[in-house]
Symmetry: none
Subunit: 189 residues, 4 copies
């Protein structure tokens, strides 16, 4: 091997892609991504075989990043609500701290370029939340629903909450609490 692939370049491409996709959607030109990443147009394709591969990979990395954020410092021994709130808080904080990641993720999620395989992989990676959700929904309105549904509802309310926080950052705390309450009461109540 003449020169090994550089992890730095790969990361730079993914980071540039995050910004550019957040801004321009999935139709963002690879040339712009390459330029913002500080590499040549062609170089992008030595790291990702095609634009679709880049987008799918980006989707996965963003999702993993979010999952890691949500699980960091997970208070395994604490009460159900504490654990749930931990996940929720990390979720909202991640989205507030990295608005581009969130916007990019959303663009990718509705795009037809994300393969079923990618979605499956993400589903697996988020499987660990199913246990929490199962526990949450052991009684209440969600009692008979699959944990993935509960999980999706949390995600949906979380997204909405982040939208409002993005628009009114000063009310972040209030929305963050209200969103969680709506979810928690709705699911366990």
């Amino acid at each position: 091997m003449a020169r090994p692939l550089s992890e730095d370049k790969r990361t730079a491409i993914l980071e540039a892609a995050t910004e550019v996709v957040a801004m321009l959607g999935v139709s963002a030109p690879t040339a712009k991504i390459a330029k913002d990443a500080g590499v040549a147009d062609g170089t992008l394709f030595t790291y990702f075989a095609s634009k679709d591969e880049l987008l799918n990979r980006l989707f996965l990395e963003l999702k993993m990043d979010l999952r890691d954020a949500m699980m960091t410092g997970y208070p395994a021994g604490k009460s159900l609500m504490d654990r749930n709130r931990h996940v929720w808080d990390r979720f909202i904080d991640w989205g507030s701290a990295y608005p581009s990641k969130r916007r990019a993720m959303r663009q990718l999620a509705v795009s037809d370029r994300i393969t079923e395989e990618s979605k499956r992989l993400v589903g697996n990676a988020f499987g660990e939340f199913d246990d929490i959700m199962r526990e949450c929904a052991s009684s209440g309105a969600m009692r008979l629903q699959p944990p993935s549904f509960v999980s999706a509802i949390m995600s949906a309310i979380g997204d909405t909450t982040m939208d409002f926080i993005a628009r009114e950052p000063r009310e972040a705390k209030r929305y963050k609490k209200a969103g969680f309450d709506a979810f928690w009461v709705g699911v366990t109540g």
Copy 2:
């Protein structure tokens, strides 16, 4: 007058656009839309000055269509929950009956081609739901939140619910009820 602009053609273009945008996103080629609508490439532009105008108009029409569906048969005199459930049911039914409209609407909603003006118009048109939401949230976790937040949460949970129904149509009834309960309890509980 020569040939008047044909309402049929306009509708055909919007319907074709709905399908094509649902499938391919906002980057769907106008040529494909025109072809599916059964008109010539150029004809599309006598009905809509540009692709952006078409997309914005489509967004508005879809939103109005949804609003009308939600308000049809609104049981003004009934209990808050009945009225709320009416809106919810119509929302879910609309999304289930017209999956393309729903998918197209979602593509448009995240796209940067929808102008602020369009969003404002939609906001106005959905203003009547604010009153309902305000009433819903007169007590409970959402007590101090703006009605638009409550409304957005209902929309988010509804979307999630429709996703699951689309994937498991046989469980439609169950998801529809569970989604509503999660919302209702979460907001009023």
Copy 3:
């Protein structure tokens, strides 16, 4: 015949074409010409079979208009120089009075859409100037040249003169005289 062609409409189209071609060149859209003329897009084609026919006809009309202007009040009995100056003055005055006609004529003249036939017709119509030019060039530098060459030189100097007058209208008189002198001395001197 149901309704006779209207001379007014024909004239309106030609006048609109003059303005539009002056401004946008021969690639000016027929739709714009029609609109400015106050007629429908299709109507233009009942008066002129094609855009090319319109352009050629316009070219001819403009040239005839110029020729008529140059010959109006021609002082047949006066001296050679007086007659020549008359033609020159009318030429410059016409161009100054109708800058659009002049610009349109120039656009048409360099365009590949004017047929040889049109050019021939114009040549014939300007044939009467050949006699004058022949007389002018009976001695001097132009002695042995065809009158059409002398004529073309007058036209060229005239055009240049009009360009400068258009740019510095206050110096109109000076340029007009200087241009004539250059021509007259150059040809007869």
Copy 4:
């Protein structure tokens, strides 16, 4: 560096553009220019950002080419008439030798796609002729005119002369002399 921009390709595009614009005017399709230049459609746009840029650049290059031709071998020490005739001869020879360049230049000159900036640049480049023209016109009919007017008249007579030479190449010598005489006498006489 990867493949450097090829001066050959750039030149090929400009040469193809010269021919095609001479033949079809400024509305000549870029696809035809690219094809004639032996490059792909898209390649044209890596050398020129837009068609307008290509046209402006072509205009400049043609003008510079003409200026260089006119100044090559300029007999600085010789008499005013000799120097003037030198410029004239080179002018006519250039136009006769490169009829496409001349036609293209004319198309561009009347087109509205040439920017004021381009015209200004050309004006500067031809400024050195002003000195010659000033000297020419130090007495005679043009005594009180700006050198640019004298220069424009030379250009106009030259153009006319070239037109006639193009139509009757056998009389080239005669027209060339007659044209010069008309100019020279007209300006200095």
